[in-house]
């Protein structure tokens, strides 16, 4: 896997431009790399290090703290089943076991065809809609076993391609770059203070 593409470098520079200090863009740039390749590759991290002017070790140091970043290829779809307390009370574990059985893998593994990575995750803020899961961070609520079967079938047949982009893609709308007013800094802030 590769360094960031030219188009993504341009995007990365826009993102960096929205922060007073380049390193603040680091997590968004790691997401950008994951959007490009489906996971965060070493060469992408080296490239990001150049862009935000830190060492590759610092980039990995930050990246490795966060669960969403994958350093090895994962499935096209990450199916994350919540088993935390509200979901446990309403069958989150049984839902996870059902999916393990249907996919023939354990939580944490990827199917041989590379379609699905299954994970047992912590609370995803859908507690009133238990049991809940996410497919590439898109929610499914009050999921029954029949719903789960239909979901897997839809994923295999590509019926959800329009709704659920491949792993790594989060928001499909980006904040647009604007002229940063805050760049004018303390002088301008003093003007505000004078009001």
């Amino acid at each position: 896997m590769a360094r960031l593409s030219d188009a993504n470098v341009a995007t990365a520079k826009e993102i960096i431009g929205r922060f007073p200090r380049p390193k603040s863009a680091l997590i968004l740039l790691l997401h950008l790399a994951q959007e490009q390749d489906g996971h965060v590759s070493e060469s992408a991290m080296e490239h990001i290090a150049e862009l935000v002017e830190v060492t590759p070790a610092e980039v990995f140091g930050t990246a490795s703290f966060y669960e969403m970043f994958k350093f090895e290829p994962v499935g096209k779809y990450c199916v994350n089943v919540c088993t935390n307390i509200s979901c446990q009370l309403l069958g989150g574990w049984e839902l996870l076991e059902h999916l393990e059985h249907r996919l023939g893998i354990h939580a944490g593994q990827t199917t041989a065809d590379g379609l699905v990575t299954l994970e047992d995750v912590e609370c995803i803020a859908a507690c009133t809609e238990a049991p809940a899961l996410q497919v590439n961070y898109r929610y499914r609520y009050r999921v029954t076993e029949a719903d789960a079967d239909r979901l897997l079938d839809d994923l295999r047949r590509g019926r959800l391609d329009a709704e659920i982009p491949p792993h790594g893609v989060l928001a499909r709308v980006r904040q647009r770059t604007t002229e940063r007013w805050a760049d004018t800094g303390t002088q301008a802030q003093a003007q505000v203070d004078a009001r």
Partner: protein, 456 residues
């Protein structure tokens, strides 16, 4: 299964109080710019910028006595006054990293009414004289990120964010960013670390109180999404009107997510301080009773970090000082109801496992303590518990939070470690025979559901 996000459960108009911040949840295009402006959006911002000084605005928010909705419940207006005068640049950080188990409200506010939050952010920046805000959304919330990005682009294009807002000389930038999966980043100093591109580990307070040394060591205010979403209403209607709703000790309306074994789990905006837990669980306009007509065995009143409550607490009002005095907290408005068939040992294990997984590892008592609590609980649940394990659980808990008291004392930088003690102390003190039965027989007591679901 609901196919089209966002799915949310908001009942019709609640007869006991008005809607302040959920008015657009039922408006199909309430999240768009057109939908927002059509329903009165951005009028508060224009009013504030053209007729009020920043001090006027601070005074309105102080008069409202709104308590922060992120968990700690500190009065928002007072928090703003902690900024040292004349130190610039200063920053506003919006905490949208909602991940406390049981908590589900900020995501709805971001997905269904992003412009209301943006208006609240610009108002707060005007009040605290900040020119740069950072809107930090949880990494796993793709739809919220998308809607906020769209809303920000629209707000910039229409002159509500950016340079010379509403034709005045006030200008502010909002930078949208998000995390990548770490509960601890909801802690304000850890969030600031994450915002600086680092591992999300909390900073020691003192000296790193955000108001004094926050983002880039500059003065910083960190406010919760729900708190800021209330600002447009407060400006439009006045702080005194806000204070008139709810109780004097817990003002305004407040969002609560009620999950678990109730007939109709949901997110409700309720009059703060006067509604009781029993009303919330039983009233037809809220949850409509416990499933299958059963009884409450325990409930968590304020997120996984809170001590558990039992049937004797049902008639307590959702009032911060009352709940604090009763030995728990309202926290982030997360109520989890467990009926009388719930396996308490398994429930406590699952909450402890959460804290063990999410400990950032910076402080030894938390890193080691939560790990051991989880291992001991797991072997009990798996049928391999030892008689001495119960005292061992309390001993480890005492090392993380000396005295196992409430409010918790802590040997750690942040409250995550002591939070792991709450489920242990709550379940073990109240349901010790259930633990002993597990250890003696390798299985739960009779009558609890052996599946994780107590609703067959």
């Amino acid at each position: 299964m609901t196919e089209t996000p966002p799915s949310y459960h908001v009942p019709g108009l609640v007869p006991t109080g008005p809607k302040l911040i959920t008015t657009r949840f039922d408006v199909a295009d309430g999240y768009t710019y057109d939908g927002y402006v059509r329903t009165g959006g951005y009028t508060a911002l224009r009013t504030a910028l053209t007729t009020m000084t920043p001090e006027d605005l601070v005074n309105q928010v102080k008069a409202a006595e709104i308590q922060g909705r992120g968990g700690a419940g500190f009065p928002a207006g007072t928090k703003w006054t902690f900024l040292p005068p004349n130190v610039f640049p200063r920053y506003l950080v919006i905490n949208g990293d909602e991940s406390e188990p049981g908590t589900y409200k900020d995501r709805l506010l971001m997905e269904l009414d992003p412009h209301q939050l943006i208006e609240g952010i610009v108002l707060a920046c005007y009040a605290i004289k900040a020119a740069q805000a950072f809107l930090y959304v949880r990494g796993e919330m793709a739809l919220a990120q998308e809607r906020l990005a769209q809303a920000l682009n629209e707000a910039y294009a229409n002159g509500w964010v950016g340079r010379n807002i509403a034709g005045t000389d006030f200008s502010v930038d909002i930078t949208l960013t998000w995390g990548a999966g770490a509960y601890i980043v909801g802690e304000e100093t850890a969030l600031i670390e994450s915002l600086e591109g680092n591992r999300g580990m909390p900073r020691l307070k003192p000296p790193f109180f955000p108001a004094v040394k926050g983002v880039y060591m500059q003065p910083t205010i960190v406010n919760n999404v729900e708190t800021l979403s209330n600002l447009p209403w407060i400006v439009n209607e006045g702080g005194e009107s806000f204070k008139a709703i709810g109780a004097p000790t817990s003002t305004g309306m407040r969002m609560f997510a009620v999950s678990g074994h109730v007939n109709r789990p949901g997110v409700f905006e309720v009059p703060n301080g006067v509604t009781t837990f029993r009303m919330l669980f039983e009233a037809p306009e809220y949850c409509g009773g416990i499933r299958d007509g059963r009884k409450v065995k325990a409930f968590i009143p304020g997120g996984a970090s809170a001590m558990w409550f039992f049937d004797e607490h049902l008639d307590l009002p959702l009032d911060k000082p009352t709940v604090d005095r009763s030995g728990s907290m309202l926290g982030s408005g997360a109520i989890v109801v467990m009926d009388d068939r719930t396996d308490m040992v398994r429930a406590a294990w699952r909450v402890v496992r959460f804290f063990a997984r999410e400990s950032c590892g910076k402080c030894t008592p938390c890193r080691e303590g939560t790990t051991w609590l989880e291992r001991i609980m797991k072997r009990i649940v798996d049928g391999h518990g030892r008689p001495e394990d119960l005292d061992l659980l309390l001993d480890v808990s005492d090392n993380i939070s000396p005295g196992i008291a409430w409010p918790p004392r802590q040997t750690t930088i942040c409250p995550l470690g002591p939070s792991a003690v709450s489920p242990i102390a709550s379940a073990l003190r109240r349901f010790r025979p259930e633990f002993e039965h597990y250890i003696a027989h390798g299985r739960p007591i009779d009558g609890v559901d052996t599946r994780s679901t107590a609703h067959v």
